[in-house]
């Protein structure tokens, strides 16, 4: 398998740390005196959620869910579904969905609708990266570390065919040569 190379670093480790501290301070101020449940989406948000949780000063609970992948569908694509559900109820809790990236908005919209149906006291959205140029479905992003241009990025949880998640920085991946149809 050929793996495209890194073209350039978009956000360094230090820049990411600074942005996470800034967002964590905003969240801590908003939820002061309250308890917050962070809900991460496997697998991409694990790295960001862990870094964010460490910077928060309010009491934090953590839970994860995963959704079925479009790529893994055999034959007809079917419908998106929860592949790994939350371990605990979120009813009456202050919940924050933590995403690595909000892109087209397809996945985030589905997850927000799913979570809101579980009766949380409040539901917010926090993302490491917000790629607004590619948005199809509008979703309310409450907290974001970075807005990014319309480039394919990897690192800090974001993958290319499951690789690169462990990079400490966010980088632009080299474009593959395109063929005209």
């Amino acid at each position: 398998m050929s793996v495209p190379a890194i073209e350039r670093v978009l956000f360094t480790e230090e820049e990411i740390e600074r942005a996470i501290r800034r967002v964590a301070a905003e969240i801590s101020a908003h939820y002061a005196g309250r308890e917050l449940k962070l809900v991460g989406v496997l697998k991409g948000s694990v790295f960001f959620l862990a870094a964010l949780a460490r910077e928060l000063t309010v009491p934090v609970k953590v839970d994860f869910l995963a959704i079925s992948s479009f790529a893994n569908q055999k034959g007809a694509p079917g419908m998106v579904r929860i592949a790994k559900d939350l371990d605990d109820s979120i009813e009456g809790e202050e919940v924050m969905l933590v995403e690595d990236i909000v892109d087209t908005g397809f996945t985030t919209r589905y997850l927000l609708q799913h979570l809101s149906g579980r009766g949380p006291k409040s539901l917010a959205l926090c993302t490491l990266l917000d790629r607004t140029p590619r948005r199809i479905v509008q979703v309310p992003v409450d907290y974001r570390c970075f807005e990014i241009p319309d480039r394919f990025v990897v690192g800090f949880g974001l993958d290319y065919k499951q690789l690169y998640r462990n990079l400490k920085y966010v980088a632009v991946l080299n474009s593959e040569p395109a063929t005209e149809i």
Partner: protein, 304 residues
């Protein structure tokens, strides 16, 4: 009178109740606190298509959702004027009118309290407060019209499709807490757009599958937009976006040509945006389609 002067659609409280029943089903029991998101959902749908004048208890409190696209007007009047109006409109004597006025005030306060948590309206929640003691209806409409013009509300067009979609999404999240399912999506005959439709390119079939996967209703090439006309007025050039997503009032165009070869299409899209500024279109170029292929693990051959 205001709606007529401003050439807007008038939406009253009974109209809203009918629209909510039509949109969400007339058999649902609406909790009082769900009234606000339900009404906002209806107004966002209407506001994306045309300008409206809304006459409804507590409408000034919708500005949190509908923002600067609203101008909030409150008309107050001394009791003597209100009694006179009631006596005239309902053919009541003064004593009967007084009783009726108290009943109406109590009923309105109860509705406000239940739906919005406050019995009376606050002047600071309005942009314009007019007193009918001296001003007649026509003078008040003059002032309203001037305020609408000074805010440029009629020049800026109705609520943008993007803003409306944002409002609808937030509203749906709130409604879910009341167990109210989102409005019935615009119906599309799936068998006509899915299986029997001939797509222009395999990437369009994959994109359609992706939309189906996330439960997003779509239509394929439902509308052509004339871009140029000949001297006889016949359409000389038109543009037909690949997809229309009715839930978001959004057109999507997939471009799988090389960037260097998309100049003609870009020109058409620029023309489309200039001639039809309220049409919301998202363009996916070859690079974007390839990124989707990578992100969602689509069959790679379809991107080429």
């Amino acid at each position: 009178m205001a709606a007529q002067r401003l050439e807007c659609e008038l939406v009253t409280e009974p109209d809203l109740a009918k629209m909510i029943a039509a949109e969400f089903g007339d058999s649902i029991r609406i909790p009082d606190l769900a009234w606000r998101p339900l009404t906002v959902s209806i107004l966002a749908s209407l506001g994306a298509a045309r300008h409206v004048v809304v006459c409804c208890t507590g409408a000034e409190l919708f500005s949190g959702h509908l923002g600067a696209s609203m101008l909030r007007l409150h008309v107050v009047a001394p009791e003597s004027v209100r009694l006179a109006n009631l006596m005239q409109d309902c053919r009541l004597d003064r004593a009967e009118a007084k009783v009726r006025l108290r009943q109406m005030e109590a009923a309105r306060a109860l509705i406000r309290k239940r739906r919005y948590g406050q019995k009376i309206s606050r002047p600071t929640d309005f942009d314009l407060v007019l007193n009918a003691r001296r001003l007649g209806p026509s003078e008040m409409v003059d002032l309203l019209e001037a305020a609408v013009k000074s805010q440029g509300l009629l020049d800026s067009g109705p609520l943008t499709a993007t803003d409306a979609a944002e409002v609808q999404f937030r509203v749906r999240l709130q409604l879910a807490r009341f167990g109210i399912v989102p409005p019935k999506r615009p119906t599309v005959e799936r068998e006509e757009v899915g299986d029997r439709k001939e797509f222009g390119h395999p990437s369009e079939q994959v994109f359609a599958n992706l939309l189906d996967f996330y439960g997003i209703v779509w239509d394929y090439e439902p509308r052509s937009f004339p871009l140029q006309w000949d001297k006889d007025g016949k359409v000389a050039e038109a543009f037909t976006p690949d997809f229309y997503l009715p839930e978001f009032n959004l057109y999507v165009e997939l471009t799988t040509m090389k960037q260097a070869n998309v100049t003609r299409k870009n020109r058409k899209i620029r023309l489309l945006r200039a001639i039809y500024p309220h049409v919301n279109i998202q363009v996916f170029y070859q690079k974007d389609v390839q990124d989707l292929v990578t992100k969602y693990g689509l069959p790679e051959r379809l991107a080429r």
